[in-house]
């Protein structure tokens, strides 16, 4: 470096400044060197593919011949594709029910665990365990749990004198069965809620009790408002997650019976890797992206009305 700047020797006062400047430059180089893996990964595995996928969504392509540009043809085809609408309906119904249900259940368990119970870590372990072992094995277990004749669920219902439905074998009950199954993924929201509850200042709770507020009233007027940032976080996260269901649909139902569990991502996967409609699948992915993005934006935009920050931001 020094040899490139022979002028640096002329005035003695310039030397420390240049030395500092070159130190800053050196640190800047080091910074970019440190983050270079991410920059490369971002360009190669995220930005590049996204740009390519936007182009791909405007083409018809089966990977074997050259992509044929068809403009908005894929998007128009989607409007006329009954299976597309079915997959959108299935996924929306699933998310509309399972998101609030899982959140309410997670909050409920967190409130129970926050009552200074003994064996807290044991209960927490039990409730989080199903989240650790997700994947095909859990799908297999639930297929067997939901078995109409010999599954444990209907055996229990028969003890109560009820004749259980066909669950995943029935077009009417397959989606409710998968929604029921989604409750077993309550672990992560529950742990986040529990941390939120533990951040509620005890002084506020005591003040409310001195004012004569009942437990129920304290919960709604003190705890819930303080918990709204946590609720917002869990809500955004679970919306994003519940729109991406795949493994259950692939392993347990193959989208059936009668397309009653034709989840969006499952149909997208079919289009890409079964029918080799890569352009159509790419267009479907963009539609999903915009749906989830707009839902997230709506939730975040509305949050100013109902989310309360303790810091007063």
């Amino acid at each position: 470096m020094a040899s490139l700047h022979p002028a640096g020797r002329t005035t003695p006062t310039a030397r420390p400044r240049r030395k500092r400047a070159s130190l800053a430059a050196q640190r800047q180089r080091l910074f970019y060197w440190l983050i270079s893996p991410w920059i490369f990964g971002f360009l190669a595995f995220v930005l590049g593919p996204m740009v390519f996928s936007a182009y791909l969504s405007l083409t018809r392509w089966n990977l074997l011949n050259r992509p044929a540009f068809i403009g908005l043809g894929n998007y128009q085809a989607m409007l006329r594709d009954p299976l597309f609408w079915q997959s959108l309906k299935v996924t929306t119904v699933y998310a509309l029910i399972s998101v609030p249900l899982t959140m309410a259940f997670g909050l409920f368990l967190a409130v129970l665990l926050n009552q200074k119970v003994r064996g807290l870590s044991l209960f927490r372990t039990i409730f989080y365990l199903p989240s650790v072992i997700s994947g095909v094995a859990v799908a297999e277990v639930f297929m067997w749990v939901f078995n109409p004749q010999f599954g444990v669920l209907n055996v229990f219902l028969s003890y109560l004198g009820l004749h259980g439905p066909g669950w995943i074998a029935s077009p009417n009950w397959a989606l409710p069965a998968l929604i029921l199954m989604s409750l077993f993924g309550v672990g992560a929201p529950m742990i986040i809620f529990l941390a939120g509850l533990q951040n509620v200042p005890p002084a506020l709770m005591e003040a409310a009790s001195l004012d004569g507020a009942s437990n129920w009233r304290r919960f709604w007027t003190v705890v819930i408002p303080l918990l709204t940032p946590t609720i917002l976080f869990n809500l955004v996260l679970s919306i994003i997650n519940q729109f991406q269901v795949f493994t259950q649909a692939y392993v347990m139902t193959q989208g059936g019976p009668l397309n009653s569990t034709l989840f969006y991502v499952y149909y997208l996967f079919d289009n890409a890797f079964q029918y080799l409609n890569f352009g159509y699948a790419a267009a479907m992915a963009w539609v999903l992206f915009f749906i989830v993005l707009s839902l997230t934006v709506i939730v975040l935009a509305s949050s100013g009305r109902w989310v309360f920050y303790q810091g007063g931001e």
Binding site: L30, V132, V136, E140, F184, I191, Q244, V265, F289
Partner: protein
Amino acid sequence: MMALASRARRKSSSRQARLSRQAADRLGRAVVYLLLVGTSVCFLIPLFWLVTSALKPTDEIFVFPQVWIPHPAEWGNFARALTTLPFGRFAFNTLVIAGLTTLGNVFASAMVAYGFARFRFPGRRVLFLVMLATLMVPGQILLVPQFILFYKLGWINSFAPLTVPAFFGSAFYIFLIRQFFMGIPSELTDAAYIDGANEWAIFVRIYLPLSKPALTAVAVFSFQGAWNDFLAPLIYLNSQKLYTLQLGLSEFQGIFHTQWNLIMAASTVIMLPMVVIFFLAQRYFIQGILMTGVQG
């Protein structure tokens, strides 16, 4: 006299109130425990069902009334299930993929996180925001174009599409580790700096050892994610000798679709390592969830 009597009356009534409040408290706690235990039972029944079904002889699977405790326990189910398909091979493949993914994620993400935590330059904020924005990009958008990219690279039917991207860090893990790094007091690094340590030495000798909880959280999450992943191996791996456990299990079900005792036996074995890791590293799982949750 009057005053004394009324005070005594008041005392007894307040004692009564205290007693009834105690009774209500005790009742409330009983309800709490009842609900907790009830829910726990609901959560444990599928697991109980899994393990007992795995041990049932074939003639006890489809009987009514249902057999709860298998008699005799058919331990041979495990051997039968695991030798029908080369599950040893699948386990090895899964370990290689999950191991490489974890290694890549931990080191690359820690390095990038260090860059974002320790250096302040005009472009840094924008880059950091871009990185956070990528967290919002759903995997489905990348599914097709990434497949085509790896197809053009000739990586289909190899572990490369499943492992190589991890070595460029992952936005989620970078964010998680960076949040932890921000909490390391600058006095520590200043002292090392004055002692003549360079940035690399500060990273390796101070930041990494102090960040074990965050790095362990990233390691368990990334291992768990790779172990349970189904969609990516399904797309990229075609030949059976490269299958992961999840793919193997899915194929196993296709072959033995009603032999639930064997399917449950295979499922049990595949879940077991995750359960063990969870019990060993539970603290880090919870810490990791919270570190991302707190920022919400």
